[in-house]
């Protein structure tokens, strides 16, 4: 659905990373973890297109606006990379944004008995918090979180507060283990033979590494992808990725916005 949302708060949680909470209609409380939203940053032509963001959290809380009682809120966690996110970072309490949400297909929550392994790289943790919040209700959840440096490691406390066991690694060793998050994660999988499902979101090289580990260890795995988007609703075909059957003769393109952003890793063509 399309709605006008009011910014409740917009905080810089780490240099260049912001967490924005905004009002949402009650229907949004039914969003699936992994679904996303499209934000019209300004009611103007620059930027022209909407920008896609994961749902970091959604819930119901006492409204910040007096007299409104309990109200649904939506949160996003974003990194300033260009003019859209730059403009967003200047938003204050009370400002308005136009939002389309929820969009796309979210994570499959799988079998509650299994252990859930979440892998996030940098801003890729955005959709994993709401996922973790949902999964911990029934399953054991471990979260492997990586980033370039200490500043790219966000919201560890929030995950821990959910009861999620959190493992941090950074490329430069400024926080947690030194090294790639995927190496730490693979070690855990190999050392620990219980049934598991993997959930990953982050930069493409990380997702590829996770998919290879899933393949090698025969672990079910879902990945959440990013792509340039214009419409967000499966109409423009701008955001496609290659499906597993893809070849030049038998095209198998999937829309990240509609068939995804979450895909079972074995549904995609990784080369």
């Amino acid at each position: 659905m399309q709605f006008k949302s009011t910014v409740i708060s917009n905080q810089e949680v780490s240099p260049g990373y912001f967490r924005m909470r905004m009002t949402a209609p009650p229907e949004l409380a039914g969003s699936q973890p992994g679904q996303f939203i499209m934000v019209r940053v300004r009611d103007a032509i620059d930027p022209l297109l909407r920008r896609p963001f994961g749902i970091f959290d959604v819930g119901v809380a006492e409204s910040e606006f007096p007299g409104l009682g309990a109200a649904t809120y939506l949160e996003m966690l974003y990194k300033v990379v260009g003019k859209g996110t730059e403009a967003l970072s200047g938003y204050h309490h009370g400002d308005h944004v136009d939002v389309i949400a929820p969009l796309g297909a979210g994570f499959d929550l799988g079998d509650p008995e299994e252990e859930k392994i979440l892998v996030g790289g940098g801003i890729g943790i955005a959709p994993l918090y709401y996922l973790a919040k949902t999964l911990v209700q029934h399953s054991r959840v471990r979260f492997f979180l990586g980033g370039r440096t200490r500043d790219d490691i966000l919201c560890v406390t929030e995950f821990e507060r959910l009861g999620v066991e959190t493992y941090v690694s950074t490329d430069d060793g400024t926080l947690g283990d030194r090294g790639l998050v995927t190496e730490v994660m693979e070690r855990h999988i190999r050392e620990n033979r219980s049934r598991k499902t993997l959930y990953a979101c982050g930069p493409m090289p990380m997702l590829k590494a996770v998919a290879e580990i899933a393949q090698r260890t025969a672990t079910p795995c879902q990945v959440s992808l990013e792509a340039y988007m214009a419409c967000g609703m499966g109409a423009c075909l701008g955001c496609v990725v290659k499906g597993k059957e893809h070849s030049d003769e038998t095209p198998d393109y999937r829309c990240v916005c509609k068939d995804g952003p979450v895909f079972a890793f074995d549904q995609l063509k990784w080369v």
Binding site: I45, C231, M233, A235, C236
Partner: protein, 305 residues
């Protein structure tokens, strides 16, 4: 005052209002059903169709530019069989006219597809995308050569009794010459403009942003060029013209009608505002009401030069 009359007639079809959705920006209608009342717009024009399914281009396929966007989707589409099986059933549930945009790589392909579309009752009319490479003639684009355009339109004309709209490419020296060629081939109407060919470069990577290198520019950035071409063509031909290019508001749509368009298509605007087509029709109605204009048809070509 009674409600103004927004209906327009093109090729014997009455449209409840002049606002149509541009091909490739509105899927097959269904994708937008949650955001726009499909019964409130003039017509649905579907994504460019070919006989066989088409894979389209590698990604990235889109890039925002100042006031516009580039796309190089590469005409990815499901092909006519899947269209009939998966898309037509939904379109059947909507009373709004459905115009199918389509293309081929040879004159024969255009004709064959027109003939197959002719047999589908849910299809109100067809729109020929002539901005496609002519495979038989070394890849030169049908839409930039008046003779090639004539032959494609003529072949389609002979293959269907449904209304035929020829959609013109703006990447030409003389748009009027192209319009004449299509009118001579007995198109019922002309629509313009398709996208302007453009390019974007990523300085850091020293590469084109689009995998396809070049792409089609659309959005408000191109509106001045589109308006100029619609004005030139509408003065030159007797058949109705449908204006396309950067329409974001009711005022934009009215500018095209004053320039001579009998209807308009809304493209890129659907991406920023999925209810754009409905909103624009509403804004036109409000304008007419506020200015005491009883019939939108009074405005067609009413520009005083």
């Amino acid at each position: 005052m009674s409600k103004p009359d927004l209906s327009v007639e093109i090729a014997g079809i009455t449209f409840r209002n002049p606002v149509m959705t541009a091909s490739g920006t509105f899927g097959y209608g269904e994708e937008f059903a949650d955001y726009v009342d499909l019964e409130s717009i003039g017509a649905i024009i579907t994504k460019g169709l070919s006989i066989k399914p088409k894979a389209g281009n590698p990604t990235p396929r889109i890039q925002e530019t100042t006031g516009g966007m580039l796309n190089a989707i590469g005409l990815q589409n499901v092909g006519i069989e899947a269209f009939v099986e998966h898309k037509v059933p939904f379109l059947r549930t909507v009373s709004t006219p459905v115009i199918v945009n389509f293309f081929g790589n040879t004159v024969e392909e255009y004709a064959e597809l027109a003939e197959r579309l002719d047999r589908i009752p849910e299809v109100t009319g067809v729109e020929i995308n002539i901005s496609c490479p002519n495979v038989k003639h070394g890849g030169i684009v049908f839409g930039t050569d008046p003779k090639a355009a004539y032959s494609v339109v003529k072949a389609v004309r002979e293959a269907t009794i449904k209304p035929v709209i020829a959609k013109l490419s703006p990447n030409v020296t003389d748009i009027v010459e192209m319009a004449w060629a299509c009118a001579d081939a007995e198109a019922d109407a002309l629509s313009l403009i398709n996208t302007l060919t453009g390019m974007a470069i990523d300085v850091k990577r020293r590469r084109p942003v689009l995998a396809n290198v070049t792409g089609g520019l659309s959005g408000p950035a191109v509106k001045p060029v589109a308006l100029r071409m619609v004005w030139q063509v509408a003065r030159a031909v007797k058949i109705p013209v449908i204006g396309i290019g950067g329409i974001m508001s009711g005022t934009d749509a009215l500018e095209f009608m004053l320039a001579g368009a009998s209807a308009v298509q809304v493209g890129t605007a659907n991406f920023l505002d999925p209810s754009a087509a409905q909103r624009i029709a509403g804004e036109m109605e409000t304008y007419l009401e506020q200015n005491g204009i009883h019939d939108v048809k009074e405005l067609i070509g009413a520009l005083e030069v």
